[in-house]
């Protein structure tokens, strides 16, 4: 199967503003996060990939199809969930999804049947017969997902699908995205909510100023420090003998606070030192956390590298 999308020297200028600056990348994977601050060029990239905006120069391909020439083929195989509401006033949920199916080239019967199917899938129950403008924010987002799924695309572009939703609504949306990934639909998720991206994506592309700042596997990006740990404990005294015991065993202590220590183990397999020290000094261990970069740290680092190369 072809890559989700590839760009080769892709440039897009609006007058003097350079929205995409010689972008070269190849993205594969099932659920991929597209991150970047405002004005990073994410929307422009999606627009170019959908064949809406012609690139100034360079090439882009979606699912192996040239974005400039095969836009109709691409659009048949891609579903797009825009950031804004994009509902048509006066239409019911069913009518709306059926209509978007017709726009994608489905027959009326197919579109209607499939509309009900995807509305079931996104869990819009009886509400589907109500005008869509009465929906809550969460329901609108799910309706938008349904309209992108109606023609059963192979690839979904989601632009801020969890923006402004409450925790429960976000949870539902993220579960749906994970499930779609399992069903074999590839997803490009553009979002400002890094925790959400962290939860559903395996890969991320971080953009800034029209360039790719970083891309790859999320776990690698968050790269655990194999010997750095935080220990949480409850001690009867001040835990001084615990610290001593650790230091005797070549553990470096970086940070100490009430009930917690930041430590560096001599090797990546030396966690037993902590356990032994705790047992011997009668310390009650309450947690052992490997130090990990959060996605946010990785993101901020990528942005900082761009600003001060």
């Amino acid at each position: 199967m072809a890559e989700m999308f590839t760009c080769n020297g892709l440039v897009k200028r609006y007058g003097k503003v350079c929205a995409l600056n010689s972008l070269t990348l190849s993205v594969d994977g099932t659920v991929v996060g597209l991150l970047g601050p405002n004005g990073a060029g994410k929307s422009t990239l999606i627009s170019v990939l959908l064949g809406q905006t012609p690139a100034t120069s360079g090439k882009a391909a979606v699912l192996g199809l040239d974005a400039a020439r095969r836009q109709n083929l691409i659009r048949r195989r891609v579903g797009f969930v825009p950031e804004n509401d994009c509902l048509i006033p006066g239409m019911t949920g069913t009518g709306y999804v059926c209509y978007t199916g017709r726009l994608a080239g489905m027959s009326y019967k197919d579109a209607m049947q499939r509309a009900h199917e995807v509305l079931d899938y996104v869990e819009l129950g009886e509400a589907r017969y109500r005008p869509a403008e009465q929906y809550s924010a969460g329901m609108k987002q799910r309706l938008k997902l349904a309209q992108a799924l109606v023609h059963d695309p192979d690839l979904l572009f989601l632009d801020e699908p969890t923006n402004g939703m409450d925790p429960q609504g976000r949870q539902t949306m993220l579960s749906l995205i994970t499930d779609l990934g399992r069903a074999g639909i590839r997803v490009l998720l553009s979002s400002h909510l890094l925790p959400d991206v962290d939860r559903v994506c395996e890969q991320v592309v971080i953009m800034g100023g029209g360039e790719v700042l970083s891309s790859g596997n999320i776990d690698e990006m968050k790269r655990a420090h194999p010997t750095l740990y935080t220990v949480e404990f409850v001690a009867e005294g001040d835990g001084e003998d615990f610290r001593q015991r650790l230091q005797e065993n070549n553990v470096t202590i970086h940070q100490r606070a009430e009930g917690s220590l930041g430590i560096e183990l001599p090797t990546a397999e030396a966690q037993c030192i902590v356990l032994q020290a705790a047992r011997e000094t009668n310390i009650k261990l309450r947690g052992l956390h490997p130090k990990q970069n959060s996605l946010e740290e990785a993101f901020m680092a990528a942005i900082a590298r761009q600003q001060n190369p």
Binding site: Q52, N84, C86, I88, G90, T100, A104, S107, T178
Partner: protein, 335 residues
């Protein structure tokens, strides 16, 4: 799939059907647009009420048919008055009315057409402004241009919606009246005359559909608030008419046959319609004395100027609209 679905009882099911290769998306846009617009009771009411023009035409046809029989009798004098009031022709001295049936029918249709123009103005005001403006306001354009919809198909679909409603006012009632009138009142003498008249009706009606649809579509693409579009449309229609009225008052007759006589779009359309129906030539070729039909013909004017004005507006509007829609389609992802 053996993995348990995350939230739904069924999990996601793929669809194996085929997407149509044909570019019939404008049809979907058209049908959905008509349904949405038709939901407004005011639009529906206006469209139904436009059938009064068909009823009116048939009533006049019936009256003319009666006059052919009753010519000269006392009973006829009231009807002469009525005909004179509507068509501005004094038939009281005319014998053998049946010989002038075609030109009279043409006059009836033109008279109705001029009334329908006002109706078209109101219907467009109700049905047209939201066509693109509402999509802009709801930011719904991305759902079109992320699918195999081109700016042209989008425009086509939207234009068809307003064209449908204009057609319901300016085409359908006239054709119905023609058919009904032909069947019930003995009609025109020959099939050829009927067909020619039907052709003229189609051309004038079609012209109004194209012109009105193009203008309102362009206006609708210029703003995301349909109230502004509505105001724009009213201004577009009424201001020129008012200006023309003033010009006709202050200028001598001779100077108003050129550009200055073509300021009013209403007049431009009626002058063009007169030409399409060949009404002046038709009356003048009759052996009747001029005072019978003189008032019906009104001010003499050349065709060129009105036609050029109308064409310019139509083409200009379509161009503006197309450019706007292309622009929207390009920025759809970051609207």
């Amino acid at each position: 799939m053996n993995t348990a679905p995350a939230t739904s009882a069924h999990g996601y099911r793929r669809w194996s059907g085929q997407l149509s290769r044909r570019r019939w998306t404008w049809l979907a846009i058209f049908v959905a647009g008509v349904r949405l617009t038709n939901r407004a009771t005011k639009v529906r009411g206006l469209v139904w009420m436009s059938f009064m023009f068909a009823v009116g035409s048939c009533a006049l046809f019936y009256m003319l048919a009666r006059l052919e029989i009753l010519a000269g009798s006392d009973e006829a004098s009231d009807m002469y008055g009525l005909i004179n009031m509507f068509l501005h022709v004094d038939l009281s001295g005319v014998k053998q009315l049946a010989d002038f049936r075609e030109v009279l029918w043409r006059s009836v249709f033109l008279f109705m057409f001029k009334g329908e123009l006002f109706w078209v103005f109101v219907v467009i005001m109700r049905a047209g402004p939201g066509l693109i403006a509402d999509d802009l306001k709801a930011r719904a354009l991305p759902i079109y241009f992320a699918r195999p919809v081109t700016p042209l198909t989008y425009m086509m679909g939207k234009w068809m919606v307003v064209a449908f409603f204009i057609g319901m006012v300016v085409l359908v009632p006239n054709l119905l009246a023609l058919i009904f009138g032909t069947l019930t009142t003995g009609g025109l003498q020959t099939f050829g005359q009927t067909l020619a008249l039907a052709g003229d009706l189609l051309i004038t009606g079609g012209g109004v559909v194209v012109f009105g649809g193009a203008v309102v579509l362009a206006l609708s693409s210029l703003s995301s608030d349909k109230r502004y579009v509505m105001v724009g449309w009213v201004a577009f229609c009424l201001l020129p008419v008012m200006a023309q009225a003033v010009l006709f008052k202050v200028l001598p007759d001779e100077t108003t046959s050129g550009w200055l006589g073509s300021v009013s779009l209403y007049r431009d359309i009626t002058v063009t319609a007169d030409w399409v129906f060949g009404i002046r030539a038709a009356w003048e070729s009759t052996p009747l004395p001029r005072e019978v039909f003189d008032r019906a013909l009104g001010r003499q004017s050349t065709l060129v100027y009105p036609a050029v004005v109308l064409l310019t507006f139509t083409i200009g509007s379509l161009l503006i609209c197309y450019c706007r829609v292309v622009r929207f389609s390009r920025s759809a992802a970051n609207a």
